[in-house]
Symmetry: none
Subunit: 191 residues, 4 copies
DNA sequence: CTTTAATCGAGACGGTACGTCGGGTCTTTCT
DNA sequence: AGAAAGACCCGACGTACCGTCTCGATTAAAG
């Protein structure tokens, strides 16, 4: 009987998916330090021993879950008309995410986890860099087309704009609303 | 008739101080969810029972420690010459803090704690609002004196600048260096 | 339909036995009021939580241990020749027990425990009644055969003889020696 | 310079008395292992520090209390007519004591304490020997006068009678009643 | 009387045990 | 052969006291 081409037991795939989802939910609900294998198992109705069979320890599980969280390709708003509109769209998208997406829900846990675990830190920084890149590109394009002053540093500008949105989510009681995006861009980019 | 002496046992003050310091250190080292009364007691060489005599539970201790953390008035650089210089000083100060201060060490824990505990949340937001106020005032003054365009919203501008510094600390591997402050202000405020 | 296998996890039986033994040892060493779950756990190298899983609290554990202590059927010397010899054997056996058996080691703890806890009291009295019954029967038999005066009350005679042995163990510095048994019977039963 | 008449601060005498009484009450209520300085202090309304000032530790306090307990000379029924009547009186007295006196209330505690603490043991045995002596003397007198067989060993007979009374108090649910004293003497001494 | 000195009540402190909860490892049983 | 169940050890929780200790506040004795 030939061994299949790396066939994986469907039960495993099923368990894997359920556990990862539950892990993200627990991460959002209890944070990095509050996450518990037992909590995850209870949430997804799987036995603890199953989790321990599939991941060596808590750290590996969390890392795997974060990976899964970020690999879900965010519905990138593609092919906008002008750089200016594209920037507005991207920031609005980010502001929206900071108010309701799974990533935002896990953000405090991610930040805390990044502080304690090198692997989490690497993932966290990596995915932020990737996400920021689109904004940097749009801003650079705007500089290119003359929509922005040429002395604008695209990287710093992107950090400022994204930073404002993140800051409002993490450091204040009021996340940035959609209608505050335009004033923000007006103030920061001089529009 | 003068108010009574209201003497407080010096042993209490001593214990209180030691425990709060240790709590902040543990918060920085293990995070909000990882903090443990046992850990705090061990770190400062105080008996667990002493901690429970002075605070009803973990939550109260953490809240108190955060309060103590913020009430140490940071050496505000006061009375600068021009608004412009004052802004630069404030931001440089913030960038510096994000690289080395106790507050920055505890920041991930604070963010995580704010997400889980309403009291921590209130404190966290309150102190951030207070700290940001100085920057807002300086920017408003710059608008007043014409150093900044009149269409600049001081609150949003402050959020963008502070947000950039915080973003670099929390979301990337490279906190903002001092020599990046000027380029940041150049880009965001058009200087 | 036969009763199910009713298998009990061998680990449980093992822990149970170890804990009960240690409890008796602690009872002998520290007494009823000095017994400590921590002490028992330490003595038998079992985790405290294991004890709490098997018994609801200290009282239940002690009661169970006392039960176990008494259920080990003492090697009753059975089927002696004459009632007279049987009485002597029984008393010698008791005197011996009062000098060295586990029961004697725990006796002060049992008496103290009986004074504080109704359950212990019930067990203590029950097992004493049971143990005394053999002596009462032998004395009654001796009365029957004319070996003892007919006005001897077997119950009181048994109490006097057993009482003497117990008294010497609990109230004096010198437990009754084997060679004192014959004189005791001579004096009390007129032999 | 002659030392004063060893005056002792009346506050001390007062505290001392109150504490010793409370100690005996606690011994009766909680036993030797359950006795607690705090319990004693609470019971007699004295501060813990006062107790610790007057006695070095728990052991000394207990020993002192036991001493006080036994030094209250029991109202010895003196000068009876015949040895036989005197014996009956003494045993009735003991039976009575085993049902209601402070000594009987503390007896389990004393037995337990004697097992753990050499000092308590010494006191316990000493006072029992003293109390038993009267009975031994009365029995010896009865032998002398021919009221008892000459082969009766007064010491063993006294132990048997006293032992019966003590046994019924400590090992059974029914302490010896007054009307059981005569049958007991009838059976044991052949009356 | 007032001063002086001791006793006293109060309670902070480092500990230890309580009984509870839950975490991660590993064994046993079931399907 | 898995997965589910759950026993095991460990450690933190918050509570209750214990015995040590340091305090001011009282109260007795001496001047």
């Amino acid at each position: 009987m030939p061994t299949g081409p790396d066939r994986v037991d469907p039960r495993i795939t099923r368990s894997r998916r359920a556990v990862l989802d539950a892990t993200l939910a627990e991460l959002a609900a209890r944070g990095y330090g509050g996450l518990t294998i037992d909590g995850v198992a209870t949430r997804c109705g799987v036995a603890r021993s199953t989790i321990y069979r599939l991941w060596p320890d808590r750290a590996a599980l969390v890392a795997d879950a974060i990976d899964a969280l970020n690999e879900q390709p965010p519905p990138l708003p593609a092919g906008d008309e002008t750089p200016r509109e594209r920037i507005a769209t991207l920031v609005r998208h980010l502001a929206d995410a900071m108010r309701s997406s799974p990533v935002a829900a896990c953000l405090p846990a991610l930040i805390d986890g990044a502080e304690r675990d090198p692997t989490v830190r690497r993932l966290h920084h990596h995915y932020n860099d990737r996400r920021r890149a689109a904004l940097v590109a749009a801003i650079a394009a705007a500089v290119e087309t003359g929509d922005l002053r040429s002395d604008v540093d695209p990287e710093l500008a992107a950090v400022a704009v994204a930073g404002a949105v993140v800051y409002r989510r993490l450091m204040t009681a009021r996340p940035l609303r959609d209608d505050e995006v335009e004033p923000l861009l007006g103030t920061v980019l001089g529009w």
